[in-house]
């Protein structure tokens, strides 16, 4: 039964969590301040009141939280654990890398850990170094962990639902700058789809730009500016990074023969390198490939400094112009 709801990004996640809790008894949801206070970003508002002790606040113990998620999932629950910032998961990274990721493989499939870790990341103006990193590349180097980064209300709703019904650990990386965004009508109630998939955000023929996370809005803005420079960009949002929609990417690159990857993470060791490497290894003939991301620097707190570093519509347009005019 597909219904519509007018929600913003945070509201969409709230709606998805509510639905998981309502329709699936195995769901529990916990994290710091997510219960009675309804979450530092208000995302879980009302859930504790509605679902009682299935939604609860935890001590500031990320290792215990994620570990408890792994253990509960092993016993057949479908826990959703909120880690307030992905940066904070570093104190508990063992529970993701060495524990959650291994459960199914090492037990030869006798156990699984259908755990969803909801978290958010990224630099907003004024974020300090320890609250500003884009760390998806770490997770993408861990076999056994699935990762998505929704940026619209519909994507957020859908990916939370897919993550919940996935039989393996999924990290859903949200962004605090999006929670209070504009309301849009989204479909709710449809059968959750399998994890995976990308969204074609703009069709074009000259260059493929693949991106993920909130920087996609800069990419889209850049895409809109490009026609005036004679460039027609195709823009793919990789909502799911694992599994990644390689087929969609290949199709597009075969058409445009040019590729630009834009991510907010530091360039070196970021997932952009993986994408370029795969295009090379698959022998797709391209005339130009580049990455755009944060230079290899810790994020400074001052927005004045941060703005010098972060990719922007401007730098994205410039990269596209270079791809088309300087090197074709």
């Amino acid at each position: 039964m597909v219904e519509q709801a007018g929600v913003n990004y945070g509201g969409a996640i709230n709606a998805a969590l509510r639905r998981c809790l309502a329709e699936d008894e195995r769901t529990i949801f916990f994290g710091e301040d997510v219960g009675k206070p309804g979450g530092v970003f208000g995302v879980s508002k009302g859930l504790h009141a509605e679902f009682g002790n299935r939604v609860f606040d935890t001590p500031i113990s990320e290792t215990a939280m994620i570990g408890a998620g792994v253990g509960a999932a092993m016993m057949g629950m479908r826990p959703v654990v909120e880690i307030m910032w992905l940066d904070f998961a570093m104190v508990a990274f063992d529970q993701i890398v060495n524990q959650a990721a291994n459960v199914r493989y090492v037990s030869n499939g006798k156990l699984s850990a259908p755990l969803t870790i909801r978290t958010q990341q990224g630099y907003l103006p004024g974020s300090c170094a320890q609250h500003a990193q884009n760390l998806e590349a770490f997770l993408l180097h861990v076999p056994g962990i699935r990762v998505c980064m929704p940026t619209t209300p519909q994507e957020a709703y859908d990916s939370m639902m897919s993550a919940h019904y996935c039989d393996d650990p999924v990290v859903v990386i949200e962004n605090r700058g999006l929670y209070a965004g504009p309301k849009t009508e989204i479909n709710i109630g449809a059968e959750p789809s399998e994890i995976g998939g990308s969204v074609l955000r703009r069709e074009g023929s000259d260059i493929t730009i693949v991106s993920w996370g909130p920087i996609i809005s800069e990419v889209l803005a850049a895409g809109d500016q490009m026609p005036s420079r004679g460039i027609d960009a195709e823009i793919i949002e990789a909502v799911w990074l694992n599994p990644f929609d390689w087929n969609g990417l290949i199709r597009s690159v075969k058409k445009t023969r040019r590729l630009l990857v834009v991510h907010e993470a530091n360039v070196t060791g970021g997932f952009g390198g993986e994408i370029l490497a795969r295009v090379v290894e698959w022998d797709i003939q391209v005339s130009h490939m580049r990455r755009l991301g944060l230079p290899d620097v810790v994020v400074p707190a001052s927005p004045v400094l941060m703005n010098e570093l972060r990719p922007s519509a401007e730098s994205i347009v410039a990269a596209a112009v270079e791809a088309i005019w300087c090197r074709s």
């Binding site: 215990a64 016993m75 629950m77």
Partner: protein, 319 residues
């Protein structure tokens, strides 16, 4: 506790001991490779504790967990097979010595990261709040693990939410090669859980009867909805931290000093004085020995992993 049950415990402990001895030989002779941590000397803890647990209960141990797997009823055959790269191994070769896992037997596995099993066990206990079971979860870890933040976090989490979990600290006096007494200022480790509001008790971990009694009591309390309980089980290991450990750090004569207090010797003596004859005791050992020998020779006859598991080596993986 009557003699019958004691005899059963003795048999279980001897089987574990003989299993481990066999593992030692296999490892030393190179019939398999990989880091191996034996349970010799600590058998009373797993055997006593598992005797007090029900089928539906969940156990999480560390890499030093062969004894826990066996005490949960996992057949020695499937453990030998796991080590010897045979199909039919408990994890089809993916786990190895340090990662035995047998959920069918309520054994949710070993764990090779010190302290990391405790939060996961707490999660299993958390699940019991919601899944209408009366499952009790037990997690075992070493003295050294007490210094790993994960263990404190896990205990506090369990205390805060009154979770049905038993923490068993097997204090064998060493954290790998270093005496625990040198790595803590306050020697009484039960003070830590107590400081978190968890009832805690020191137990003679060489006394299988005492262990069973302690865990039985805890299980009864927990099933009637009380929160976590902690036991520091005092014990010793009778060999190196791992197979191959030269034990330079071990004071001369230390192992000999354990001769009479280690759990098997102790229980044999007790049964002796309860009227069980030496001949009867030898009979038990002989039977256990047969069981283990048979398991080993059966394991050796299983087909190698080359034939099956290799084909599926990438299954259950998500790159």
């Amino acid at each position: 506790m009557g003699n019958d049950k004691r005899v059963e415990h003795l048999r279980d402990m001897i089987e574990i001991r003989l299993f481990e001895n066999a593992v030692f030989d296999l490892r030393v002779s190179g019939e398999y490779v990989g880091s191996t941590h034996l349970y010799n000397g600590q058998e009373a803890i797993a055997v006593g504790a598992c005797a007090a647990l029900g089928e539906g209960d969940a156990v999480f141990s560390t890499y030093r967990g062969h004894g826990w797997a066996m005490a949960r009823g996992v057949p020695a055959l499937s453990l030998f097979a796991e080590l010897l790269n045979r199909t039919g191994g408990i994890c089809e070769g993916r786990g190895g010595s340090a990662y035995f896992t047998a959920p069918d037997h309520g054994f949710f596995g070993e764990n090779s990261i010190v302290g990391a099993g405790a939060p996961i066990a707490v999660g299993a206990a958390l699940a019991a709040k919601y899944d209408d079971s009366d499952r009790v979860t037990l997690t075992a870890f070493g003295d050294g693990a007490m210094n790993q933040g994960a263990v404190t976090e896990a205990m506090n989490f369990a205390a805060t939410f009154d979770l049905p979990v038993i923490f068993v600290c097997e204090n064998n006096s060493y954290s790998e090669l270093t005496p625990i007494r040198d790595m803590v200022r306050e020697q009484d480790l039960t003070r830590r859980p107590e400081a978190l509001g968890i009832p805690a008790q020191k137990i003679d971990g060489n006394d299988v009867v005492a262990v069973e009694a302690a865990i039985s009591g805890a299980v009864a309390e927990i099933r009637s909805k009380s929160g976590p309980v902690f036991f520091e089980m005092m014990t010793q290991r009778l060999q190196g931290h791992y197979v191959g450990d030269p034990e330079h750090y071990r004071p001369k004569g230390e192992i000999e000093s354990y001769k009479d207090i280690e759990p098997i010797a102790r229980l044999r003596r007790e049964l002796n004085s309860n009227g069980i004859t030496d001949a009867e005791l030898e009979q038990i050992t002989a039977e256990a020995s047969k069981t283990i020998d048979r398991a080993l020779s059966q394991a050796k006859m299983l087909p190698g992993l080359e034939q099956t598991a290799v084909r599926d080596v990438r299954e259950h993986v998500y790159g």
